[in-house]
C-alpha cells in the first residue's frame, strides 16, 4: 500500500480550528464561522484531490495509508495511529466534507442571531474531525476514538441550547444510549484481540477465516450492538427522536447524513466478520427489518416535522442495515443508499429548518399549510428530496432503495419473502408519511395564526438546499450507471462473488411493485390529509396512539433495560446480610453446617471470616498436594 502524507491534514485542520475557536473565546466571534467554513471546505478539497488521485491509480494501489504516531505499544499489542484511505473511506470522506461544508454555509445564516455561533461552529469542526477519524482509522481501536469523538460532538450539539431542560435531557438520553452501544464495540474489540492478537482491520481480516464460528458470531453480535447504538437501530433507537432538540443543521449533518450512518460503515468495514458468520448476518437483517418498519410507523404519527424526518431517518438506516446483512452485494447497495440518503435527507432537513426559520421556529406541521406559495425554493428542493425518498424514477432513491428491496427478495426462500415483504411494506408506509409531511406543510389551506409571516430564506440558506436537491436528483443515476459504485467498492466487499442465489424477482418486477405500493401509500395520505385540524385529534385508534408514543419505546427501555436490573438487585440483596444486621442481632450463629456458611458467606462475623480463611488455606494446600502428586 502506498504511503501518503496529506491524510492527517483531513483530521488535523478541523481539529485545530475547533480548538482555536474554543480557546480564543469571544475574540473570534466576528470571524469564527468563516474560518470554520473555510476549513471544512478545504477538507473537502483535500478529499476531492485524493479521490481523483485514487481514481487514477489502479488495483491494490488505490488504498493508501499514513503512519502518524505509535499510539499504544503494550506487549504484542501495537496500535499505530495510522490512517487508511481506501475505496470505502473515500466515499465517506466526500460525503462528510461535502455535506458538511454545505451545512457550514447554511449555518452561517441559520445561526446568525445566536450569540454562541462561534462555539457552534467549533463543535461542527470538532465533529468533522472526529467523523473523518472514524472513517480513516485503520484499526478498531482508532475507529473507537473517532466513534467516541462523534458521540461527544453529537452530545454537545444536541444540548447546544441546554438552557432548556428538555434539550439537556435529550442530550443525556443520546449519551446513555450511545454508551450501551460503546460497550458492544469495546467487547467486540476485546474478543477480536483475544482471537487474533491484533485489532487492525487487515489483521482481523487475515485471521477471520481461521477463527471459530462462535467467536465470529460473538464479535458480529457485539459490532451490531455498537451499530444499533450509533445508528439508532432497534432496540437502541429511542434517542434519535429526542436528539432533534439540537439546532436543525445539526440534525441534517449528524442525525441524518453522517454520524448515524456510522453503524452501516462499521458493519460494511467488518464485512469479513459478517461474511463468515451466517448467524450474525441473520441478526443484522432482523434488526434492519424491524427498524425500517418501526421507524416508518412512528413517522406516520408525528406532528413535529423534525421528528417525522427523524423517524424516517431511522427507517432508511434500517434499509441500509438490512442490506448489509444480505451478503457481499448488499454492502455496496447499503453504501449506495447511504450516499443518496445523505443528499436527500440532509436536503429535507435543511428544508425543514428553512420552514422553521420562516415560521418563527414553529415545528408543528398542523400549524403549517400552503407554504409552497410563500417559500417556493424551499418547497421545490424539499419536493426533490421527497420524490427521491419515495423512489420515483429518475430520482436518487429509485436506484438505491429498489436495489435493496430486490436484494431482500433474492435472499431466497421464506427469508426472502419476509424480508422483501417488509422492505416493500416499508416503502408503502414511507410514501404515506412523507406525503403527509409534504401535504401538511406545503399544500392545503394555511393553518398558521396571523402573527406568522412566512418568507423565503436567504441565499446562504437556500443555496446549500439547492445543491443537495440536485444531488437528490442525480446522485442515484451517477453512482449506479454501469454499476459504478459496486465496481468501485468491489475490492473491499468482494461483491464480485455473489452467491448464486435463485433470482426470485426480476429488477423490473420489483420496480413496478415498489412504484405501485408507493402510489397507494401516497394516494392514501393525500386523501386522508386533504383537510386537517390544527390541533391533533384525540379520538384516535390504538395504533395511532401507539405510534405517537414512539411505539412505547421508552416504556420498552424501562421494562427491558432498567426494571430487571433493579428487580434482580432487590431480590438478591435480601440474601445479603449486612454488617449492622448481623452484629445487632447477635443471635447464636453456629458453624454447624458448611452449606449455611456458603449461603450467607458475608455475615459480618469475624469468626466465620477466619474460618473461611482457614478453609481457603486448606484448599490451597490440598490443591498443591494434588497437583504435585
Amino acid at each position: 500500500m502506498k504511503a501518503n502524507n496529506y491524510l492527517v491534514y483531513l483530521i488535523a485542520l478541523p481539529l485545530f480550528s475547533a480548538a482555536l475557536l474554543l480557546l480564543l473565546g469571544r475574540i473570534a466571534d466576528k470571524w469564527g464561522h468563516l474560518l470554520a467554513t473555510l476549513v471544512s471546505a478545504s477538507t473537502f478539497a483535500i478529499g476531492a484531490y485524493e479521490f481523483f488521485a485514487m481514481r487514477s491509480r489502479s488495483g491494490v494501489d488505490r488504498a493508501i495509508t499514513q503512519h502518524v504516531i505509535q499510539w499504544i505499544s503494550v506487549g504484542t499489542l501495537k496500535v499505530d495511529g495510522a490512517l487508511l484511505l481506501d475505496q470505502l473511506s473515500i466515499c465517506f470522506v466526500l460525503l462528510i466534507t461535502g455535506v458538511g461544508t454545505l451545512i457550514h454555509i447554511y449555518s452561517i445564516s441559520y445561526m446568525e442571531h445566536d450569540e454562541n455561533r462561534r462555539r457552534f461552529f467549533a463543535y461542527l469542526n470538532l465533529f468533522i474531525a472526529a467523523m473523518l477519524l472514524l472513517v480513516l482509522a485503520d484499526s478498531y481501536l482508532s475507529l473507537y476514538v473517532g466513534w467516541e469523538g462523534v458521540g461527544l460532538a453529537s452530545y454537545l450539539l444536541i444540548g447546544f441550547w441546554n438552557q432548556r431542560p428538555a434539550y439537556a435531557t435529550a442530550a443525556k438520553k443520546a449519551f446513555v444510549a450511545n454508551r450501551v452501544g460503546d460497550v458492544g464495540l469495546s467487547l467486540a474489540i476485546i474478543i477480536a484481540f483475544t482471537q487474533f492478537g491484533t485489532v487492525s482491520f487487515a489483521g482481523v481480516k487475515a485471521g477471520a477465516p481461521h477463527a471459530s464460528s462462535a467467536a465470529l458470531t460473538a464479535i458480529g453480535a457485539m459490532l451490531l450492538l455498537a451499530a444499533a447504538g450509533k445508528s439508532a437501530q432497534f432496540p437502541l433507537q429511542s434517542w434519535l427522536g429526542d436528539a432533534m432538540a439540537g439546532p436543525t443543521p445539526v440534525s441534517a449533518l449528524i442525525h441524518a447524513a453522517t454520524m448515524v450512518t456510522a453503524g452501516v460503515y462499521l458493519i460494511t468495514r467488518s464485512n469479513f466478520i459478517f461474511d463468515a458468520s451466517s448467524t450474525a448476518r441473520l441478526l443484522v437483517v432482523i434488526v434492519g427489518a424491524i427498524t425500517l418498519l418501526f421507524g416508518a410507523i412512528i413517522g406516520t404519527a408525528k406532528d413535529d416535522i423534525k421528528k417525522a424526518l427523524a423517524a424516517s431517518t431511522m427507517s432508511q438506516i434500517g434499509y441500509m442495515i438490512l442490506a448489509t446483512g444480505l451478503g457481499p452485494i448488499g454492502y455496496a447497495f447499503a453504501i449506495l443508499h447511504l450516499l443518496t440518503h445523505g443528499f436527500f435527507k440532509a436536503g429535507m432537513f435543511l428544508g425543514a429548518g428553512s420552514v422553521m426559520h420562516g415560521m418563527d421556529d414553529e415545528v408543528n406541521m398542523r400549524r403549517y399549510g400552503g407554504l409552497a406559495k410563500f417559500m417556493p425554493i424551499t418547497a421545490i428542493t424539499f419536493g426533490f428530496g421527497y420524490l427521491a425518498i419515495l423512489g420515483i424514477p429518475p430520482f436518487a432513491g429509485f436506484y438505491s432503495k429498489d436495489k435493496i428491496i430486490e436484494t431482500a427478495f433474492n435472499a431466497g426462500g421464506n427469508k426472502g419473502w419476509i424480508l422483501g415483504g417488509a422492505a416493500l411494506l416499508g416503502a408503502a408506509i414511507t410514501a404515506f408519511y412523507m406525503t403527509r409531511v409534504v401535504v401538511l406543510t406545503f399544500i392545503g389551506a394555511k393553518r398558521w395564526d396571523s402573527m406568522a409571516h412566512p418568507h423565503e430564506s436567504p441565499l446562504l440558506m437556500w443555496l446549500p438546499m439547492a445543491i443537495l436537491a440536485i444531488g437528490s436528483v442525480t446522485s442515484g443515476f451517477l453512482l449506479s450507471s454501469g454499476s459504478a459504485l459496486v465496481h468501485w467498492l468491489q475490492p473491499i466487499v468482494n461483491a464480485g462473488n455473489v452467491e448464486g442465489g435463485k433470482e426470485l424477482m426480476k429488477p423490473l418486477t420489483v420496480s413496478l411493485l415498489a412504484l405501485g405500493v408507493v402510489v397507494i401509500g401516497a394516494g392514501a395520505a393525500i386523501i386522508k390529509y386533504r383537510t386537517v385540524a390544527s390541533e391533533a385529534p384525540s379520538n384516535i385508534s390504538i395504533f395511532t396512539k401507539a405510534a405517537r408514543k414512539d411505539l412505547y419505546q421508552d416504556s420498552f427501555n424501562e421494562a427491558v433495560l432498567m426494571r430487571p436490573g433493579q428487580g434482580l438487585t432487590d431480590t438478591l440483596v435480601k440474601t445479603d446480610h449486612n454488617l449492622i444486621d448481623g452484629a445487632v442481632r447477635g443471635v447464636g450463629w453456629t458453624l454447624n453446617t458448611i452449606s449455611s456458611a456458603a449461603r450467607s458467606i458475608q455475615n459480618g462475623y469475624v469468626r466465620s471470616y477466619a474460618l473461611i480463611m482457614v478453609l481457603g488455606t486448606l484448599a490451597l494446600v490440598a490443591t498443591v498436594w494434588l497437583v504435585t502428586l
Binding site: I72, V74, M613, G616
Partner: protein, 504 residues
C-alpha cells in the same frame, strides 16, 4: 570486631523522609496548639510526600542490592512502585485533609457527653496524619524488601496504622470501630500465616533472603513439602492484604466502616504495596517453582474475579460495591502476576495506576454526596444524581467506565495490557475468564451510570456538598490521570517497559 552496617542514605532517603515526617507529626500533635495543628500536619505530610517523590526521581537510575545490608533491593520496579504509592498517597492525603470525616477523639463513646464536650472544645485530633505517614513508609518498604524479616516488619508497619485509621470515622462510630476490630483480628490472623510461611521457607532453604530461597530451589536437595507449604502460607498473608477470594471477607466490612478518605487511601495504596511485594516474591524468590504455584494463583485469580463481579451486582451500598469491585480488580492483577514476564510486571504496575486513581476518585466523590447525617452510601438514593449535580455525576461515571474497562480510559489500557501479557505467556484460559468477567462487571458499572443519569430522583434530602479546594484538586487529578492515560498510555507505558525490572 563488629562494624557498623553500611547504609546508602541516598537510596533510603525517600522512606526516611516519610518516617521523619511521621515522627515530626507526633511531636506536632504533642506540642503545637490546637488551632495550628491541623494545617501544620497537612503541610508536613504533603511536603514529605513530595520531597520523597522528588528524591525517588533523582535516584531513579540507580540500582543496588546492598543499600541496607542486603535487606532491600533498589531497582527499577521497586522505584516505580514506590513512586506510584507516593502519587496515590498524595491524592489520598488531600482527602484526609478534610478532617470533618474523622472523630474528634478516638476514645470518646459515640453520642456520649465526653464526645459532645470534646467537639464543643474543638479538640479535633489530627493523629491521622502521622498514622498515614507511618503506613506510607511501611508500604514503600514492603515492595523493596528482599528478606522475609524485613518483609514482615514492613507488613506490620503498614498494617498497624491502618487498623487504627479504620476506626476513626466521625459518623457511624460503631460501624467504624467494629470494622477496625475486625480488620485487626483478621489482619493478625493473616500475619500469623505469613510468619509461619516464612518459618517454613527458612526451614527449607536455610536462608531468609529471596535470593537464598531461589538458590535453595536450584540445589533442590531439601524437602519440597516445606517449600510448598511455605509458599502457600506466605501467599495467604499477601492474598489477604490484596483482598483475593477466599481471603477477602474483611474487605466489604472494612471498606464500608472506615472513614471514606481512609477507605480510598487503603484501597489504592495497600493494594499497590501488597501486590508490589507479591510480584517481587514470586518473580525473584519463587520463579523456579512456578509450575507449583501458578495453578493455585491462577485458580484464585479466576475465583476472585468471578466472585467479586457477581457479588458486586447485589450490593446496594456504594462503598460495599466499590469493595467488591476492588476484589474483582485484585483478580485481574493476579492474572498479571501469573503471567510472570516483563510485560506482566509492566501491566501490573500500570494497573496499579489506573485502578488506584479511579478508586481514589470514586471514593472522593462518595465523600461529597451527603444528607444531614453524613454520607449517603445507599445506592438507591444516588438515583437521579445526574440531574442535581451533572459534573460530580459525570466524574463518577468516568471512574465507573474506567473500572469497567471502556476504551479511552486508563482502565481499558490496564485491562488490555494485563490480558496481552497473559496471552503472550500462554495463559489463554485466564484471558477468556478475564474477558467474560469484564463483561459481567461492566454490567453493574453501567447500571450505576444509568441509574445516576436516568433514575428518578428519590431523595430530597440528598445534597452534593461543595468540595473543599483540596478535595477538588484531588478529584481533578484522578479525572485527568484517568483520561490522559486512556488517551495517551505511552506516556507511562514506555518507561514502565524499560524501567520495570527486578534485581535478582
Amino acid at each position: 570486631m563488629l562494624s557498623a552496617p553500611h547504609l546508602n542514605y541516598a537510596l533510603l532517603a525517600p522512606i526516611l523522609i516519610i518516617l521523619g515526617a511521621a515522627l515530626l507529626g507526633v511531636l506536632v500533635e504533642a506540642f503545637i496548639s490546637k488551632a495550628l495543628r491541623s494545617r501544620l500536619q497537612i503541610g508536613i505530610s504533603l511536603i514529605a510526600v513530595i520531597a520523597a517523590f522528588i528524591q525517588l526521581i533523582r535516584v531513579r537510575n540507580l540500582t543496588s542490592t546492598s543499600a541496607a545490608v542486603g535487606s532491600v533491593a533498589i531497582d527499577g520496579a521497586g522505584i516505580y512502585i514506590q513512586l506510584i504509592i507516593l502519587a496515590l498517597a498524595f491524592v489520598g492525603l488531600l482527602y484526609i485533609a478534610d478532617t470533618d470525616n474523622f472523630t474528634a477523639q478516638a476514645s470518646a463513646i459515640p453520642g456520649s457527653t465526653e464526645e459532645a464536650s470534646s467537639i464543643a472544645a474543638g479538640s479535633q485530633q489530627t493523629e491521622v496524619f502521622p498514622l498515614t505517614l507511618f503506613a506510607i513508609a511501611g508500604m514503600m518498604l514492603f515492595p523493596i524488601a528482599t528478606d522475609l524479616i524485613t518483609l514482615f516488619v514492613a507488613l506490620e508497619v503498614l498494617s498497624l496504622p491502618l487498623y487504627l485509621m479504620s476506626g476513626l470515622s466521625r459518623r457511624r462510630r460503631l460501624l467504624s470501630q467494629e470494622a477496625a476490630l475486625k480488620y485487626f483480628l483478621l489482619g493478625a490472623f493473616s500475619s500469623a500465616f505469613f510468619l509461619f510461611g516464612a518459618a517454613f521457607l527458612y526451614g527449607y532453604s536455610g536462608s531468609l533472603s529471596l535470593n537464598g530461597i531461589a538458590d535453595g530451589v536450584h540445589s533442590s536437595g531439601a524437602n519440597s513439602v516445606f517449600l510448598l507449604i511455605g509458599i502457600i502460607f506466605l501467599s495467604v498473608g499477601l492474598l489477604f492484604k490484596v483482598g483475593a477470594v477466599p481471603f477477602h471477607s474483611w474487605t466489604p466490612d472494612v471498606y464500608q466502616g472506615a472513614p471514606t478518605p481512609i477507605t480510598g487511601f487503603m484501597a489504592a495504596c495497600t493494594k499497590a504495596a501488597a501486590f508490589g511485594a507479591m510480584l517481587r516474591i514470586f518473580y525473584v524468590g519463587f520463579n523456579d517453582v512456578q509450575w507449583d504455584w501458578k495453578p493455585i494463583i491462577s485458580a484464585i485469580a479466576v475465583i476472585t474475579m468471578v466472585f467479586g463481579a457477581i457479588a458486586a451486582i447485589v450490593q446496594r451500598d456504594v462503598k460495599r460495591t466499590l469493595a467488591f469491585s476492588s476484589i474483582t480488580h485484585a483478580g485481574f492483577i493476579l492474572i498479571a502476576v501469573v503471567a510472570l514476564s516483563k510485560n506482566g510486571l509492566a501491566a501490573a504496575l500500570f494497573y496499579f495506576i489506573s485502578y488506584g486513581f479511579a478508586t481514589l476518585g470514586a471514593f472522593g466523590i462518595v465523600t461529597l454526596v451527603r444528607d444531614s447525617s453524613g454520607e449517603i452510601t445507599d445506592l438507591n438514593r444516588w438515583s437521579g444524581l445526574g440531574k442535581r449535580s451533572p459534573l460530580v455525576a459525570s466524574a463518577f461515571s468516568l471512574f465507573m467506565l474506567s473500572f469497567g474497562g471502556i476504551p479511552l480510559t486508563a482502565g481499558f489500557i490496564g485491562k488490555f495490557s494485563v490480558f496481552t501479557a497473559s496471552y503472550e505467556s500462554g495463559n489463554i484460559n485466564l484471558v477468556v475468564f478475564g474477558v467474560l468477567t469484564s463483561a459481567v462487571a461492566l454490567f453493574f458499572y453501567l447500571k450505576i451510570v444509568l441509574m445516576i443519569f436516568f433514575g428518578e430522583s428519590r431523595s430530597d434530602t440528598l445534597t452534593v456538598v461543595i468540595p473543599s479546594i483540596l478535595t477538588r484538586v484531588a478529584i481533578s487529578i484522578c479525572v485527568i490521570v484517568t483520561i490522559l492515560l486512556g488517551v495517551y498510555p505511552s506516556l507511562i507505558f514506555n518507561s514502565l517497559q524499560t524501567f520495570a525490572t527486578f534485581l535478582h
